[in-house]
Amino acid sequence: MLLGRTANGLYWMNRYIERAENMARLVDAGLRMALTRTQNASEEWNSVLLSAGSDYAFSQKYQDYTAANVSDFLLRDTSNPSSTMSSIETARNNARMVRTALTRETWESINEAWMSLKRMLARPIDERDLPTVLDAIKRETALIRGSFYGTMLRNEIFDFSQLGTYVERADNTARILDVKYYVLLPSLSWVGSTLDNYQWESILRSVSAHRSYRWVYEADYKPTNIADYLILNVRMPRSLTFCYRFLGEHLKFLADDYGERHACHATAEKIQALLKRGSIKDIFDHGLHEFLAEFIRDNTRLGDEIAQDYRFH
């Protein structure tokens, strides 16, 4: 038996842990781009903000799209509810609320991540320290994930947590692709220029897949392969298909446990079917942007339905 409020807390706790890490990864990719390209760095930072869904809020506060401004806004600004610091804080508040549903190890890893990041992000980050800070954020979230997977019972508590993780992750991957979809379009250039190569690598880097890509595909970056990898690959842990494989699985566990199916089950199956049926060529033919925009909408709807079906409020 699980309280609706607790399920809600678990779901958001995990969304925010995922988000805290995604922010670090986006800044990491942006930093890389800014380092390797001399021109148009501000454009790159702009797309980082777009992927983070924070462009508007940023523009209310800053004029210049610089590394210092963007990383400050995405990592440590507590007025930005999606910044790493805000996310970790929200994740911890939720963890505190659902404390009785967590193992001691999981709670402590979240609490320690909060303590150490609070300390680390207390003052503006010196640009020279940025890589160290990004590493620390990834390490803290990895520790949380490790203690979570290592110690939690695979019951409904686990299911609701995983739903949060994968809804957030799917949203994040889809947004990264959508912000950069034009550089993946075949009409622009089939033969990638150096410029495109940077762009492509940046996409992969923002989902920590620039190395694993080469294990799966050939050494060269090809836009269709990149799109295929991030959308359809079943084994790639941040692909849309991978996320929906697990969303489907955990929703099914809940349906079996409770003996009841809801609207969210139908929605998840619809999205899964779409991902299963299509080849990357179909998606490009249909329009990559249209596909992604629809996916983001459906994914958001799934989140709302889960909240409603399982009485989060």
Binding site: M1, R5, N111
Partner: protein, 470 residues
């Protein structure tokens, strides 16, 4: 004023309960002990054992300082204490039942009627209501002070929602982690089964309508409450749900919680929410912490609320001064544990005395708690005394006064070695069809040298409390 030191009294030398510990302590490297002290703090911070301090934005989560020198009681001392506590707890429950039914003690003139009738803690809504199994106050924390080898006094009966038991448990846990070898050498009676006893105790007082194993839940005001850690801790250790008012509603004459599968009935609610917030339909209408209609369910006998609403009348500081009479009235025997002599400022003679001797006395608000709103005469400046006297004269019935007692001391570890500090003791008592007291309790210690205020909100710390298995 020379205080009695529980480890090393000046007159008689090292006391027996501390002999084995003292031997061990003398073998320890001071640097290692200092290290252990820091380890303890890290353990507490890591596990999030913190409390919120109202009105302090910056340090909104603080640790209650923990001292690594245990407070040790012999088995014999403990047995004497528990007899006194049991008697007192029986009397408290009998008093509550009487006050909300026949009011014999008022008719007999042993407690003034207006003291009860006009008391905010007395709930007219409870008149004629008999809680499931007839228990009013299920969980009690009796604050006890000691002033000499054989003199123990009750300072306060916490009969509403006593807190701190999680510290008792975590203190022991921490001590066992830091000094496992000590527990091999010295046989200390265990306290860690408290959550289990609490659960059994709550299950035993379930309403008759509960079929089979009762569903138990802990009701918390929420994660921003200063004692939230404890609420979560107890729910977790008991393996029951931790609920907030927003999770609950009345469904078909029962209190039910909103789960992922719909509403599920609750039979026993261990509430850590004050009476006034329990039911907006009966008490404070602006309360969002309670459950609308829960009092109707309660009156119908369909839920156990622990502690029962209205138990505050028994630990009210004005009622406290009548405890010797109350104990004798219901148990037919003299109170084993004495009260601290108390002047009720509502009585003109007492008020006169208190005003004349204010610089020697401790003056407390009748309804205050947590060390707020009190004056410790000997530690106060002349100006503070004068200002307090004005408040006292404005509303005398709001105050009681007690002599400044030389609370016993127990050493704490400081940078300069052991140093005595004043302590008190809060054992936890569970009442169902029987009375159970976990051997030990929470020892609170005033960390400032000479200070008599042990409350955590006022710079107090805690110690592990040992009852020897001898």
């Amino acid at each position: 004023m020379a205080a009695f030191d529980e480890m090393l009294p000046e007159v008689s030398g090292l006391r027996r309960p501390y002999e084995a510990y003292d031997r061990w302590l003398k073998e320890q490297d001071p640097a290692r002990l200092t290290q252990k002290m820091q380890d303890a703090e890290r353990v507490f911070r890591k596990t999030g054992i913190t409390f919120a301090v109202y009105g302090e934005q910056e340090a909104s989560e603080r640790l209650i300082p923990f001292d690594i020198v245990p407070r040790i009681l012999s088995g014999q001392e403990w047995r004497r204490l528990t007899q006194g506590i049991e008697q007192r707890v029986q009397a408290l429950n009998a008093f509550l039942d009487d006050i909300y039914h026949r009011q014999e003690i008022l008719r007999a003139g042993r407690v003034p009627r207006e003291l009860v009738a006009k008391n905010e803690a007395f709930l007219p809504e409870m008149i004629g209501v008999r809680p499931p199994a007839g228990v009013y106050t299920h969980i009690i924390g009796v604050d006890i002070v000691r002033i000499s080898e054989n003199e123990f006094y009750v300072l306060e009966d916490n009969a509403r929602t006593p807190s701190g038991v999680s510290y008792m448990l975590e203190n022991r846990e921490t001590m066992m982690q830091l000094f496992p070898e000590l527990f091999q050498k010295i046989k200390v009676r265990p306290v860690e089964n408290y959550p289990q006893l609490l659960r059994q105790s709550l299950a035993a007082v379930r309403p008759q309508s509960a079929k089979g194993a009762p569903t138990i839940a802990v009701l918390t005001p929420g994660s921003y409450n200063s004692a939230y850690f404890e609420h979560a801790f107890l729910a977790d250790q008991m393996g029951v749900q931790l609920v907030e008012g927003q999770d609950l509603r009345v469904v078909d004459g029962h209190v039910a919680m909103r789960t992922t599968e719909g509403y599920k009935q609750i039979d026993v609610l261990y509430r850590r929410v004050d009476d006034a917030f329990l039911d907006p339909l009966t008490f404070r209408p602006d309360s969002a912490l309670g459950v609308p209609g829960i009092m109707d369910v309660y009156r119908a006998g369909n839920i156990t609320i622990a502690n029962a609403p209205g138990t505050g009348i028994a630990d009210d500081k004005a009622i406290y001064s009548y405890m010797p009479e109350i104990v004798e009235f219901y148990t037919g025997r003299k109170a084993i544990l004495g009260n601290i002599p108390t002047w009720r400022c509502s009585e003109p003679d007492s008020l006169k005395y208190v005003l004349e001797h204010i610089s020697e006395l401790v003056v407390k608000e009748v309804h205050g708690s947590g060390g707020y709103g009190m004056l410790v005469g000997p530690a106060a400046t002349k100006k503070e005394c004068q200002e307090f006297a004005k408040k006292l004269q404005a509303k005398p019935s709001n105050y009681i006064a007690q002599p400044t007692l030389a609370l016993s001391t127990c050493p704490i570890l400081t940078e300069k070695g052991l140093s005595p500090r004043h302590v008190d003791l809060r054992p936890y008592v569970l009442v169902s069809d029987r009375i159970q007291i976990v051997p030990g309790g929470l020892t609170r210690v005033a960390l400032k040298q000479g200070s008599l205020v042990v409350n955590s909100s006022q710079g107090g710390g805690t110690k592990d409390t040992w009852v020897l298995d001898d």
